[in-house]
């Protein structure tokens, strides 16, 4: 690997951020890593597109555009494959299936913190979150159940998601 190549250096500098950028589009980190790798192949000198990259005025923007286009391609392809099962899902939420229980999303420590954060949620937030996330109830349904407005139901779920996200960060340092 020649690290005197400016395009490789630029790619390496942005790699982690590019993965973060692609993750919500393709749905998970592993696919995002693949997309970013594929993007480099197109971006690298020697590749047909890479030749053009030497001439573009904004190579970073160009790199993000490649990643974005590839990520959308991947999502579209998967969506076509999964159409029957995920028909009711918008594109960017299509790869929403959960990993098998034995290969959960969270490690042990995170799982413990998630469980604790769930226990700590304000009652109405927990109810709203569970109804929406687990039972698949609409915000209208939750609003009726809790006797609040739909806007409040939305805020309850949003607040719960935010608290859980912050709880997962707790021991990461900052």
């Amino acid at each position: 690997v020649r690290d005197d190549d400016p395009r490789l250096k630029l790619f390496l500098d942005h790699r982690a951020t590019l993965v973060d950028y692609a993750t919500p589009i393709v749905g998970d980190r592993m696919r995002a890593e693949d997309v970013v790798q594929e993007a480099y192949i197109r971006f690298a000198p020697g590749a047909a597109d890479g030749v053009a990259a030497g001439r573009v005025a904004q190579p970073v923007g160009y790199l993000y555009r490649i990643v974005r286009n590839l990520a959308l391609d991947v999502t579209r392809r998967r969506q076509t494959e999964d159409r029957n099962r995920l028909q009711h899902r918008p594109d960017w939420l299509a790869p929403a299936e959960l990993p098998a229980p034995d290969q959960g999303l969270l490690d042990r420590d995170e799982t413990r913190r998630m469980a604790a954060a769930l226990a700590d949620l304000p009652e109405r937030e927990r109810v709203a979150l569970k109804m929406h996330r687990v039972d698949g109830r609409s915000l209208q349904h939750i609003a009726d159940h809790l006797d609040v407005s739909v806007t409040t139901a939305h805020r309850l779920v949003q607040g719960a998601v935010l608290r859980l996200t912050l709880a997962l960060r707790d021991e990461d340092g900052a």
Partner: protein, 88 residues
């Protein structure tokens, strides 16, 4: 894991991302949200990172609930979980 040079998204950004998540989840048939959401994601890599972060916890909710059940639904199980957290 590789170290991430990007700063972690702010709490404000996470709240915004959580708002998007609920909007998208609540209206799965509403394709009109798509362009606005993509524009928001593309506006700043930190936006996309914030969304990835809230989405991860959203997806992991069942795992957390399962762990809660495993720890025992009774008050003792919950208290045990709570006692491990710093009070705010």
């Amino acid at each position: 894991m590789t170290t991430d040079p990007a700063p972690r998204p702010s709490v404000t950004l996470l709240a915004e991302a959580a708002d998007w998540l609920v909007r998208l989840e609540a209206a799965p048939g509403d394709r009109s949200l798509g362009p606005a959401f993509e524009a928001w994601c593309a506006a700043d890599p930190a936006h996309a990172a914030a969304f990835a972060e809230v989405r991860r916890s959203w997806l992991a909710v069942p795992q957390g609930l399962a762990a809660r059940r495993a720890a025992g639904d009774g008050p003792r199980g919950l208290r045990a979980l709570r006692s491990r957290r710093a009070l705010r």
